[in-house]
């Protein structure tokens, strides 16, 4: 039985997934920790927790692929790949038939066109500034004094969603305060916030040919309000895997499994030997 792992070191959270291939590929364990100030430690913690979860010893894991912003900090990783490539791979495994991936990360939003084999056909990411990324939601919640998990459900109760002038993660505060001063309800404001981001994300995705199935990945996918808002503006059903926030790590783990499979001859590693050569 081949056992491999993927570790996705994001700016806020670090995720690890262990996968095994015993006739059929499946996720055997997952772990999630806050990245915090020590990236390297976060990666180790996530990986160790995951091994414990799976009742394995680190040495049982044949190959580890790192991804995410902190990927080059993963000391124990065998190689690394960008989360774009890994999200595509992971999504087409966890949400079969995926042709478009939408991911709202902390600093980056991305949309990816995915091929039949889970390869990246094209991708786009948010502009220079981080306006409209997942962070926007977090800040909105902070300003309203509500926990991140509550804002989605609340936003669904909006009667007359407000118009947001900016999706700047920082200036959202003054806009929200103005609306509160005008006596708008929290539901309507959050409704406006979700719609604003949904539209921003759609206009990002429009740079690609948006083809069904559309899958949403990353932690924000757990926000039902965000998923609904996106479905409304896109006018299509969106697939959300229960493992949405582990999709990057899962994709990395899948590549790690392929790596263990000697019959798989891909030059996709060449670039990354170059990479590991450098880092």
């Amino acid at each position: 039985m081949r056992i491999a792992a993927g570790v996705d070191v994001g700016s806020t959270q670090t995720k690890a997934v262990i996968m095994s291939d015993n006739g059929g590929v499946k996720i055997t364990a997952r772990a999630l920790v806050d990245t915090g100030a020590n990236v390297q430690r976060a990666a180790e913690r996530a990986f160790d927790t995951c091994c414990r979860e799976a009742g394995l010893h680190a040495s049982d894991v044949g190959f580890v692929v790192g991804t995410g912003y902190g990927r080059y900090k993963i000391a124990f990783g065998n190689t690394q790949m960008t989360e774009i490539t890994c999200h595509a791979k992971g999504a087409s495994f966890l949400c079969p038939g995926t042709r478009t991936v939408i991911d709202m990360g902390g600093q980056d939003s991305k949309a990816i066109s995915v091929g039949a084999n889970g390869e990246v056909l094209d991708f786009v990411m948010n502009d220079k500034c981080a306006a409209g990324t997942g962070r926007f939601l977090a800040n909105s919640a902070e300003v309203m004094g509500i926990s991140l998990d509550e804002i989605g459900p609340l936003s669904l109760k909006a009667q007359h969603p407000v118009k947001m002038a900016t999706v700047c993660t920082v200036f959202v505060e003054s806009d929200i305060l103005s609306y509160l001063a005008q006596g708008k309800t929290g539901e309507d404001i959050l409704g406006g916030v979700h719609i604003a981001i949904a539209k921003r994300t759609l206009s990002l995705a429009r740079r690609l040919n948006i083809e069904p199935e559309i899958a949403m990945t990353g932690g924000v996918a757990r926000n039902l309000g965000m998923v609904r808002a996106l479905e409304d503006v896109i006018g299509r059903k969106i697939l959300v895997s229960p493992d949405a926030q582990f999709i990057g790590a899962a994709g990395a783990a899948l590549f790690a499994l392929e790596k263990l499979d000697q019959s798989f001859e891909s030059s996709i590693w060449r670039g990354d030997h170059a990479a590991s050569g450098r880092h």
Binding site: T82, T85, V120, L121, D122, R207, S267, G271, A274
Partner: protein, 421 residues
């Protein structure tokens, strides 16, 4: 392995020498008022005309980019912003104005106040503001050559006449300011030299169609651009590019490329991020990705498609060059076409669009360009953003991430094609 290959032939040193002797001339002019100096802009420059007066060009853009490459651009930029320039103004202008305010020069030597600030307006509206402000700041003479924009595929008769008349007005203006008589034969001779330099430069550009390409038509081409704009119309220019062609020809014939193995061939659109020039180049070197063509290397003139200055009709050909044969005065769709030709004739795997916030002429609408290439032509295209002069707009981690992902997808595409076959 990490390739940090770049073209380092003997001409690399000669290029340095040429540029230094140019700065020496400028310093001499600053000290003695001789030779006359004329501030001009790179795009569609008419350096040939200056030869008729034995005048030396002064290119603020070259000063600005030199500064940026040496990581010294932020201070002058901030100095200009103190004056009231906005965060979103062209950082070339800010760096240049800031240098004048603080007396900074790229070499540390002196730069003259130009005899004439000659605004060759070729599309870039910022040029007008820039030189207007320079003239105000330096209390220098200003003249604008208003070059009709390429709103059709070919310039009209009246477009050419308009520019020719203004060139002749410039000549009169310069005769007054320099007290020198315009030497028409020298001018015609200069045009003749230019046509030869252009032929050589064009052949060099075409060497990049070989696989592997003997040089990087973006990063290396920039090293060759200095001499092209300063010395194009002089015998030194001709000699320099003869040497360059010879060296690169040998390299090409020996099947030597920029990297041990040329893995990707790219067309680059947009100016480079000078403050992170090396970092940026390494992001491509890591993937052994070689630029085989670039639009930025055609701002001063677009010659690889056949245009040459013509000694038989010097004024008209200078006018034609300013109107129709430099990338900035050609319309946006003509740029699409230029890139499309590069992709096909230079056989590229993909296009990199580098949006620089400073330059709306280059960047405004590049999203539509991306749309055209990815959706209409199916050419893999990466769109990244930073700036050509302002170090504050380069997000290294993000840029690297996007570039890596782009090559991973190109690589993946290749392998899936293989595995299908």
């Amino acid at each position: 392995m990490t390739d940090k290959k770049e073209y380092r032939g003997s001409i690399h040193q000669r290029q340095k020498d040429l540029m230094l002797s140019w700065y020496d001339q400028l310093e001499q002019a600053a000290n003695t008022g001789n030779p006359p100096t004329i501030a001009m802009l790179i795009s569609g420059n008419c350096v040939e005309l200056l030869e008729g007066f034995g005048a030396v060009p002064l290119y603020p853009e070259i000063n600005a980019l030199q500064l940026a490459i040496r990581h010294q651009s932020l201070d002058p930029i901030l100095a200009a912003e103190d004056l009231g320039y906005a965060a979103d103004n062209c950082a070339y202008v800010k760096a240049d104005i800031g240098c004048i305010l603080k007396g900074i020069t790229p070499t540390g030597g002196k730069l003259p106040t130009p005899t004439l600030i000659l605004c060759n307006f070729v599309g870039c509206n910022t040029y007008l503001k820039w030189f207007e402000h320079l003239a105000k700041l330096q209390k220098a003479h200003l003249y604008v050559i208003d070059v009709p924009f390429m709103r059709a595929d070919e310039p009209s008769r009246s477009d050419v006449e308009y520019v020719v008349k203004q060139l002749q007005e410039t000549v009169k203006k310069l005769e007054q300011l320099t007290g020198r008589k315009f030497d028409y034969d020298k001018f015609r001779q200069a045009v003749e030299y230019s046509s030869r330099t252009e032929e050589l430069w064009s052949r060099i550009k075409h060497l990049a169609r070989r696989s592997p390409s003997p040089f990087d038509a973006y990063f290396d081409a920039i090293t060759l651009m200095g001499p092209l704009y300063v010395y194009r119309a002089k015998p030194e220019g001709v000699e320099f590019f003869e040497a360059a062609l010879a060296e690169l020809q040998t390299k090409a014939d020996g099947g030597k490329g920029v990297y041990e193995q040329e893995h990707f061939r790219l067309v680059m659109e947009g100016p480079p991020p000078y403050p992170y020039f090396r970092t940026f180049r390494d992001m491509f070197a890591k993937w052994q990705a070689c630029a085989v063509a670039s639009t930025y290397s055609t701002v001063g003139g677009l010659w690889e498609f056949g245009f040459r200055h013509d000694p038989a009709s010097p004024f008209e050909s200078v006018a034609m060059h300013m109107i129709a044969h430099n990338v900035t005065n050609r319309n946006f769709l003509q740029r699409y076409e230029q890139i499309r030709r590069y992709v096909e004739d230079w056989n590229a795997d993909g296009v990199i669009i580098h949006f620089v916030k400073s330059c709306r002429l280059f960047s405004a609408g590049q999203g539509d360009m991306r749309d055209y290439f990815t959706k209409q032509l199916g050419v893999p295209t990466l769109y990244i953003e930073s700036d050509l002069e302002d170090p504050r707009y380069f997000a290294e981690a993000q840029t690297k991430n996007r570039i890596d992902a782009f090559f991973e997808s190109l690589e993946h595409a290749k392998t899936t094609v293989l595995s299908r076959a």
